[in-house]
């Protein structure tokens, strides 16, 4: 049997190195599915592929006062075991209509999903489940319930669709500016109650 020449061995070695390098550089499953992230700051219009947003700020509260189930019903107070975070923002679709969802990502990577449109039920304010269309922006707030100790370093993440593999798209990550503030300072900023009635 004739042994392969040094040139063949060189090609095989180069091929193996290439295979290993490509495999190592390959994104993991979560990375392959990750949305296209665009970072941004408060008060800044941030533009992603198909939507834009401007975060005016956020408010912290222990409870919300909301309207009753009908016009005659007495107002209700909606409390939470943690703290209510309402992030006030303007959403714009740039190309097509769609739903935007939001979550808060904390410093340790925990995720707090925005509440649905029933908690708090505040029509015209709660942006959860509100469709935005080009040229017809929506203003309001996303509402979160989370432990107050998780607030320092939190980021708001707003994304198109449901972050599932079939409708993965763009995501805007906004630093809420709480990184340099202590839990005590944020607790002092937390009001007892916000009235969400129209």
């Amino acid at each position: 049997m004739r042994w392969p020449g040094w040139r063949s061995l060189l090609w095989v070695t180069a091929g193996l190195i290439l295979i290993v390098a490509l495999r190592k550089g390959e994104l993991d499953y979560a990375g392959k599915l990750a949305p296209l992230a665009t970072p941004g700051e408060l008060k800044q219009r941030i533009v992603a592929r198909n939507f834009a947003l401007t975060v005016d700020g956020f408010r912290l509260a222990h409870a919300y006062r909301i309207a009753g189930a009908d016009a005659q019903a007495a107002p209700r107070v909606l409390s939470t075991p943690g703290v209510w975070v309402s992030v006030v923002l303007k959403l714009e679709a740039l190309r097509e209509p769609g739903l935007l969802n939001a979550r808060i990502r904390t410093r340790d990577g925990s995720i707090y999903q925005a509440n649905g449109d029933a908690r708090p039920r505040a029509r015209g304010v709660n942006l959860s489940g509100v469709e935005v269309a080009p040229g017809l922006p929506a203003t309001g707030a996303f509402f979160f319930e989370m432990p107050p100790a998780e607030l320092p370093g939190a980021h708001l993440q707003v994304y198109w669709g449901g972050l599932t593999p079939t409708d993965m798209d763009s995501l805007i990550d906004v630093d809420l500016g709480t990184g340099a503030r202590s839990s005590d300072a944020l607790a002092a900023q937390t009001v007892a109650e916000i009235d969400l009635r129209p």
Partner: protein, 196 residues
Amino acid sequence: MNTIPRANENSWWRRQRLWLLGALLLGAWALLMPYREAWQGYARTHPMQAIDVAAGKSVAYEHAQWRLLNVTERDVPGQREDAMVLVARFELVMDADAEATRLDRCRGRISDASGRVWSNDSFGLLAVKHTLPASCGSGLGADFKTIQAQPGKPWLFEQVYQVPRGIDPKTLRPEIFLAWPEYEPVGRYLRFSQPE
């Protein structure tokens, strides 16, 4: 007579050329086929290639002839101030082999020249009072009985869109597509120009 072989005649590349060509073709196929499959999967739910329909003309699509009749602005109380409601009316004539229930899967939208689109209000959120059925294949007739499009007979239906004020409605183009797994041709949709 002795001939002097050229230097590269016995080179490795020349000897392996068929294998190399095969590997190249196989590699290209391995890249293209998944791409094609993914594209077709995406196109089944996302219309990608427009079939432009001239103003007043009808066109064959999904076993039926489709025509845009007009687009009018509708005054709807309680709308947001920066928006207007447009209603597009279509005429459809089913072929003999078409099914009205299948055409009911149609989806609609309206687009501007820059490619921005607004969806048909298929869930009735705009509370527009319809004067024609809102679906491509069936609707409610007198006594709230379901009526269906019949082959060879014109079927009129309308779609409703909410668009920003400030756009000239005449420049917008209503679109129709059937985004379901078995629709053909995959990824094609109708884009109508408006009659003058």
